[in-house]
């Protein structure tokens, strides 16, 4: 079947749906949506449908990236604009069905925004939302809009037209097109995509492989998960285009097992694409063959490194190999192999569906196009965004992310995961592009951004990342295996108040050795979080070392809790919730924490009613408190 015929079919299916005058309900059921309760909302909709109360077509879509106000439900009534509702609960869903679908009141009080040209009085446009307005959605173009389990919806929205166009070009022209687009690998290192393809194309060999690296393992990153869950075909289409340009004979998607929904949706997509002749043999009648297989990772972070990933596919321990030889000449099973990450492939399909010059029109001179970022941590609007490269960190954190919640102060943004660094407030106007981030001591990475506020301890954060790299070190080379272990011991001592003067210098020395001596990027970059926090937050290290004090109040050995005798009303709530039975008190008696028994779990602080706010966490000297419970109001009057 030609793409024209598939498209005709797809369009006639959507026309039938439109003519049926049925209401459409789109519900975001990505992993974030599910964690926020989307499946219970879906159940409510299905129940109402089963009872015959409404007649509607329900579609499960991926995520639009507004994770902080999930679950999201869009309702499209015939002849009405599409309206998006946020933070939908089963109760709200029942109301919406009654009020809007049955009685035609769009409930502007519950709506987030409309999508499309037309508007509804009292409801803003969704894409005027501060989190969405500055975005340019290229890789994420379909996420949240189409059913990821229906290839026809992808085709109806221009899907596989890029592949159709590529197959009518010569492989050299395909690579030239990517060169014009200026696309760089979105996995972290930022190597020019066209160049990588050309190396592999020119490498001698009949069998060649193309791999999609979906082993997204950086803690704090979920760009690939969201794209695979929301629009798996855009990734598959990109892979087939790349394979055609390179002359590859077999494809693999290597996906992290901790992202089961992404794998499930990818499997469905692959099956559908194969049935329509979009992957597999004689693709779209062109005579080009390219089958794709899915491999599940088995929980090893280092397998995101390309040589380790390939060994893992071969059924070995995933331990990196020295390069050269580079995968382009000797990769999987010693054959020429090209590997790009999920987002890169998603961009490739977009470039071919439109055109390379259009793509190159976004971004900066040296960093072209867009990049997705996962915003998480201490930021008001958490979620996934896609912005043109060159935008400033301030725009991302404050305009899009809405700044730090609960009136706290912004301290730093951590980019690039365990290989990246912490960028302080003074560098917020830094443009986000490959070069500027590297200059600041961090890296672009795959796109995780964790925002830290005044309650985040930078020494603890550095220790956290290092413990991650230490645990994930494959153990093959000494600098990484032993060096990160030594650094971790020192950092642990610092956070536990056991440090010695000179520890900072020792850390810097070790970091230097690990950086230059490790075999792969996991080791080379593992000191980055420590180096950048020492560079920008040395005062916090010094407070830990010299004063045995944690300014952010995080490091357990350096903090203590007490109950403010002026504020405690003797309500017993903390006493009852304390897992260590460390709180003494009685009704209307000021409660007292026994520091010997306290395990510093923070439960008392969490449960103390906000109107009292009597539990206080301190690092350093604790003010005087009663030794044993005394009646409320009697403190200071003895």
């Amino acid at each position: 079947m030609s793409l024209d015929e598939i498209r005709k079919q797809a369009l006639s299916e959507s026309a039938v749906l439109e003519q049926s005058k049925k209401t459409r309900i789109l519900i975001g059921t990505g992993t974030c949506g599910r964690a926020a309760g989307a499946m219970a909302v879906l159940e409510t909709i299905n129940k109402e449908l089963a009872q015959g109360k409404i007649d509607a077509v329900v579609t499960q879509v991926g995520c639009i990236g507004l994770c902080y106000i999930e679950p999201l439900v869009d309702i499209i009534k015939p002849g009405r604009p599409r309206i998006c509702y946020s933070r939908v609960t089963p109760e709200i869903m029942t109301q919406l069905i009654q009020d809007y679908i049955i009685n035609d009141n769009p409930r502007p009080d519950l709506a987030l925004g409309t999508i499309g040209e037309e508007s509804v009085p009292g409801i803003p446009k969704l894409f005027d939302h501060p989190m969405l307005k500055p975005q340019v959605r290229i890789a994420l173009r379909n996420c949240g809009h189409i059913d990821p389990e229906n290839v026809k919806e992808y085709v109806a929205n221009g899907g596989y037209s890029g592949l159709d166009r590529a197959l009518k070009m010569t492989p050299e022209e395909v690579i030239a097109e990517v060169k014009i687009s200026g696309l760089k690998g979105r996995g972290g290192a930022g190597f020019a995509t066209w160049q990588k393809w050309e190396f592999c194309r020119k490498a001698p060999g009949k069998e060649k492989y193309v791999i999609c690296n979906a082993d997204e393992g950086d803690p704090g990153a979920f760009m690939n998960r969201l794209l695979l869950e929301g629009d798996p075909h855009s990734v598959l289409e990109g892979m087939v285009i790349g394979a055609y340009g390179i002359g590859a004979t077999q494809g693999y998607v290597y996906c992290r097992a901790e992202k089961p929904l992404a794998i499930a949706r990818l499997r469905v997509a692959l099956k559908q694409a194969a049935e329509l002749g979009l992957v597999g043999k004689n693709i779209l009648g062109s005579g080009f063959d390219f089958p794709i297989e899915i491999r599940e990772g088995a929980g090893a972070f280092v397998c995101g490194e390309e040589t380790a990933l390939m060994l893992s596919i071969e059924g070995m321990r995933g331990m990196p190999k020295p390069r050269p030889p580079f995968p382009a000449t000797a990769g999987l099973w010693g054959k020429p192999t090209n590997i790009n990450n999920v987002e890169t492939w998603g961009n490739v399909s977009a470039i071919f569906q439109k055109d390379a010059n259009w793509y190159a029109g976004f971004g900066t001179k040296t960093s072209k196009g867009t990049k997705t970022f996962a915003l998480a941590g201490k930021v008001e609007r958490t979620g996934l965004i896609e912005v043109p490269l060159g935008i400033t960190l301030r725009q991302i954190v404050f305009d899009i992310g809405g700044g730090v919640p609960n009136g706290k102060k912004f301290k730093a943004v951590q980019t690039g995961g365990p290989s990246g660094g912490c960028i302080p407030a003074s560098l917020l106007d830094l443009p986000v592009d490959y070069e500027s981030l590297t200059k600041a001591g961090s890296i672009m990475g795959s796109g995780g951004m964790i925002i830290a506020d005044s309650d985040t301890c930078m020494v603890d954060l550095a220790r956290y990342f290092l413990s991650f790299c230490q645990a994930e070190s494959c153990g093959k080379c000494v600098p990484c295996r032993e060096g990160t272990g030594q650094m971790l011991e020192i950092l642990t001592d610092i956070t536990e108040g056991k440090s010695k003067p000179g520890d900072i210098d020792l850390l810097l020395q070790l970091a230097d050795g690990i950086r230059s001596g490790s075999l792969c990027a996991l080791g080379n970059t593992s000191p980055n979080p420590v180096l950048t926090t020492i560079k920008y937050f040395r005062d916090e290290y010094e407070a830990h070392i010299n004063e045995k004090r944690c300014p952010a109040g995080v490091c357990k050995n350096l903090i203590s809790y007490y109950i403010d005798p002026e504020k405690c009303q003797g309500c017993l709530i903390c006493l009852r919730n304390c897992p260590a039975s460390a709180i003494a008190g009685d009704k209307r008696m000021i409660h007292v924490i026994n520091p010997e028994k306290c395990i510093k779990c923070g439960v008392c602080l969490e449960v103390c009613p906000a109107k009292f706010s009597a539990v206080v966490k301190v690092s350093g000297k604790k003010p005087a408190t009663p030794e044993k419970p005394i009646p409320v109001g009697s403190w200071g009057k003895q």
């Binding site: 902080y68 704090g220 901790e258 059924g315 201490k378 897992p579 779990c601």
Partner: protein, 152 residues
């Protein structure tokens, strides 16, 4: 159990590249990789048991001990870390009365796993019980969830 294992093996060719998928499939049905299972795979792929252990033990996903009825995974990713994921982990350990070094309760009701990241960072801290994902977890929510699953 033996029949299932043979059925699983029959889906694959005797190619070393299938080792990881085979281990994943066996663990999926049996819950963990028993010495018997490793032995059978070694016969099938014509590899030594040592070779299989060397690969299996490299990957965090594989388990070599019997698991509890419910699996609790507590995320220790960055976003969860800065939003108190460690306290969630400690609360689970405390509530399940797990001694250091133990991951499964004595009654084989629960197994606790710490996971690097689920990628649901926007809803940190995150905890997964069996295949249900819970976001914005608090210590109070942990107690409630454990009680719910204990009855299931």
């Amino acid at each position: 159990m033996d029949v299932d294992r043979k059925e699983i093996l029959a889906r694959f060719t005797k190619d070393r590249a299938n080792l990881v998928p085979i281990l994943q499939n066996i663990q999926e049905t049996e819950g963990y990789l028993s010495p018997e299972a490793i032995y059978e795979i070694s016969r099938f792929l014509n590899m030594t048991g040592n070779d299989i252990y060397s690969v299996a033990s490299f990957y965090a996903q594989f388990r070599f001990e019997r698991q509890g009825k419910h699996t609790i995974k507590v995320c220790q990713g960055t976003a969860c870390h800065v939003r108190g994921g460690h306290q969630i982990l400690e609360t689970v350990e405390r509530e399940l009365k797990l001694l250091p070094g133990r991951v499964t309760t004595d009654d084989y009701e629960f197994t606790l796993e710490r996971v690097a990241c689920f990628g649901s960072c926007a809803l940190a801290p995150v905890m997964v019980v069996d295949s249900n994902v819970y976001g914005r977890v608090t210590t109070a929510k942990v107690k409630q969830l454990l009680a719910e699953f204990r009855e299931k």
